[in-house]
């Protein structure tokens, strides 16, 4: 199927504001995510400051809960999803499959412009009466349903729900676009088993997202109705505030948790899988050899995707859900370690008999492999329902999910930015600054979230405004200062990145079509790629995506996947 042709844009507004070009839209997503990352990162700095020096009472307890809630919401949906899934997905998919653009360019533009009001709602919610939502990014009712339960559950929570509704609409539009494009718009000769692994991960990620978001949409609507429509989907009889029983009856809070986590669990794979895919591609490119176990990796991705949809209950072991149901979820969840082991092994084995070029993107990619291992293994402690009794709601959970959806993803985003920068802007980013940025980001981030595992093991609980009240939290609290200083370092280090990124856009060293000698077809377009991606005919694919040969001479050790006439 040919992509819906759209003529080259002429006006500034068509080119850069309401563009239908997947590359521009991808960059719009990425820039928006970078801005929201500053907000989200700033919130992290405030959170760490409060809990390291609680006696200073930097913020009030109710404001602190808004900080943690919005930090989570912004980072998951408006930074990682926006940059990695929406941003890079849009930018890369047509380029890597040899298409001129996405299957539905107009829908693509709408998906971005739906996100912008969502971002605005999120930001505005900070300044409304009662402050931003404060029931956690998980928004469990009754806390999130009743304004009397916490100040953020006033207008702030309503705005949060509306922002999430817009986000889901945007994501669904994008996900559908990705699936259709990948299935129908591949260049001639690109069978599914000749797609780069990056594209496979976007494919799986989109399917997971499209299937799992609807229950959250339902939950959000039901929560809005409970809040404003007098319904009681999630609110049982007998809720007491100030000696008065509320009028609600018949609902159960557990229903929300099932609906939320039915999305929530696949969502983390939606975020992580593209990071893993990008890591595979970068390793192949810079190790100058094919990915080890391409086929088994594809199968592993499909199995991970399938399993991720049937394990959501592992977030709910201690909720009061039937423990035998919990045991099922436990057995199923630990099974996910199996395909993950395949992916991890294949990542490492892709270095065997290789010829590594330590360009800047490779630092990030290799670093990601180690974090996938650390974070992945940590998951086992939480997946096993009996040990989760101890770890639930502790900092072990915080450390684990940050490593997976906050470090693996962020490292991949940076890897991708350094790697595809030439394709975006026709230049390279400064390598010296890139390596400095790597060290000042990688070491602090990995260390600080690893330390949180130790805090969790010693008993430190999450979402606590002040840990000093309890004796049992004192050992964990001893690590807090170190974690906070590492947080400050990592946050400040991003200044190096922003400087490098924006400066290189305008005065970085110019490069040609294929500065990394890579084989995938995006490197057969001009740098930067223009309207329609290939000036002439589309490439024709005649081989698998990683035809590198570490035995050959250095400048001839690759055969591009696509032949451009």
């Amino acid at each position: 199927m040919a992509v819906e042709e759209h003529s080259a844009p002429t006006s500034f507004v068509q080119k850069y504001i309401f563009s239908q070009d997947h590359k521009v839209i991808g960059l719009q997503y990425i820039f928006t995510a970078l801005f929201m990352a500053i907000v989200g990162g700033g919130l992290a700095v405030m959170i760490r400051t409060q809990i390291t020096w609680p006696e200073k009472a930097m913020v009030t307890p109710e404001a602190y809960l808004s900080l943690v809630t919005m930090h989570g919401t912004i980072m998951v949906f408006f930074v990682v999803s926006l940059a990695l899934v929406s941003g890079f997905g849009n930018f890369l998919i047509p380029l890597m499959i040899g298409a001129r653009d996405m299957a539905y360019p107009l829908l693509n533009m709408l998906s971005y412009w739906t996100i912008v009001p969502a971002c605005l709602l999120v930001l505005v919610s900070f300044v409304v009466e009662g402050g931003a939502a404060a029931a956690g990014w998980t928004a469990y009712p009754p806390l999130s349903a009743l304004p009397e339960a916490v100040p953020g559950s006033g207008l702030g929570q309503t705005l949060w729900l509306l922002a999430m509704a817009l986000f889901i609409v945007s994501f669904t539009m994008g996900g559908l676009n990705y699936i259709v494009t990948i299935l129908n718009c591949r260049a001639k000769g690109m069978s599914l088993m000749r797609m780069p692994l990056t594209i496979w991960t976007y494919f799986m990620s989109s399917i997971l997202g499209v299937l799992s978001f609807p229950p959250l949409t339902a939950a959000a609507i039901m929560l809005l109705l409970d809040r404003h429509g007098g319904t009681s989907f999630f609110l049982p009889d007998g809720l007491v505030f100030n000696n008065e029983v509320l009028a609600h009856e018949g609902g159960t809070p557990l229903l929300f948790q099932h609906l939320f986590w039915f999305l929530g669990h696949p969502e983390v794979y939606v975020l992580v899988l593209p990071g893993i895919g990008i890591t595979f591609d970068l390793i192949a490119t810079f190790a100058r050899r094919p990915v080890f176990g391409y086929k088994t990796s594809v199968y592993a991705l499909v199995v991970v995707g399938f399993l991720s949809m049937i394990v959501w209950g592992h977030h709910m072991y201690v909720t009061g859900m039937n423990p035998y149901v919990g045991e099922y979820f436990s057995v199923a969840t630990v099974l996910i370690t199996a395909p993950f082991a395949v992916l991890g092994m294949n990542l490492v084995a892709s270095l065997w008999r290789s010829r590594i070029r330590m360009e800047v993107p490779m630092y990030w990619a290799l670093g990601t492999v180690a974090v996938i291992g650390l974070g992945g293994f940590g998951g086992l402690f939480l997946a096993t329902s009996i040990s989760d009794i101890y770890f639930h709601d502790s900092f072990f959970v915080v450390g684990h999910f940050h490593l997976m959806i906050g470090v693996v993803t962020v490292l991949s985003i940076f890897a991708g930015l350094y790697h595809w920068f030439p394709k975006m802007f026709g230049r390279v980013m400064n390598a010296r600054l890139g390596k400095l940025h790597f060290w000042l980001t990688y070491v602090p981030m990995v260390t600080l979230f690893f330390l949180m595992h130790l805090q969790g093991m010693s008993g430190l609980l999450r979402r606590y405004y002040d840990h000093s009240i309890y004796e049992f939290q004192k050992p964990g609290q001893e690590l807090a200062l170190a974690i906070t200083l590492l947080t400050y370092t990592a946050f400040a280090a991003q200044g190096i990145f922003f400087w490098n990124f924006f400066r290189s856009m305008f005065s970085g060293e110019k490069v040609g079509e294929n500065p990394w000698n890579a084989t995938t077809v995006e490197w057969t377009t001009p740098s930067p790629a223009g309207h329609g991606n290939w000036p002439g005919a589309l490439p024709v694919i005649d081989r698998h995506p990683y035809d590198y040969d570490p035995a050959a001479a250095e400048d001839k050790d690759y055969n591009p996947q696509g032949v451009v006439a």
Partner: protein, 273 residues
Amino acid sequence: MRRLLAYSILVSLPLTACGGGDDPAPAPGGGSATPSATPENGAQTGGTSTATVKDWDPAAGTIAVTGSVVFTGDTPKRRKLDMGSDPKCEGMGDGGLDESAIVGPSGELANVFVWVRKGLEGWKFATPTEPVHVAQQGCTYTPHVLGVQVGQPLEIGNADPVSHNVHSFGKKNPGFNQTQAPGSAGLTKVFNRSEVLLPLKCDIHGWMSTFVGVVENPFFAVSAEDGSFDLGQLPPGTYQISARHEIFGLQKQDITITADGGPQTLSFSFSEE
């Protein structure tokens, strides 16, 4: 054509997305809606008097109005306050007895808020600027029942070494819920609609609550331990005097004061509903 379609979808999206929310939480600070007309909460009813409103002249108040409140029925049990959920509160010593139902040996009922609900519509009272103080001390509120005029500042201080949160549960006035760290500056609140009684509660220490009678005029009192109250000196006229207890509900009495009638004594009686 397609561009037009795209722009119209973009513009209408926010409008459809906003369909979910209904009335948001009450507006901050001063409520701007029309005053409620429900008779239970001390609001002014619609102008029954067509006379012009005059600034209050203290010389006009000539007849003293006092009274007492009794409780009929078995004296309710008065328990010692259990502060077991906060060791710091426990450590501050005896928290005293539960103040929600204080009945004396002869049935004297304390902490009843008595006020002039109707009859002073012809007068305009200046809004006092002097704040009324509520103290959080020893993990209790002092006083337990108090009165404040519409627009008059209420200052809540935290003299304790623990955090408290002040959570208002007013039905007419916008709610608020704010934490005060130990030794933090006082919280000042102003209520713009009359409401009797407006509960303030500490969520952190559930046994802590205080009740504020927000009224239009300075003629209010809280009955003492011996059940007595003193409303001050009122001008001759017809009045409705109301009395509310936090548990035992509302009582009303209509009285007529004449210039030569002499001081008036009222009696209110409450019982377990």
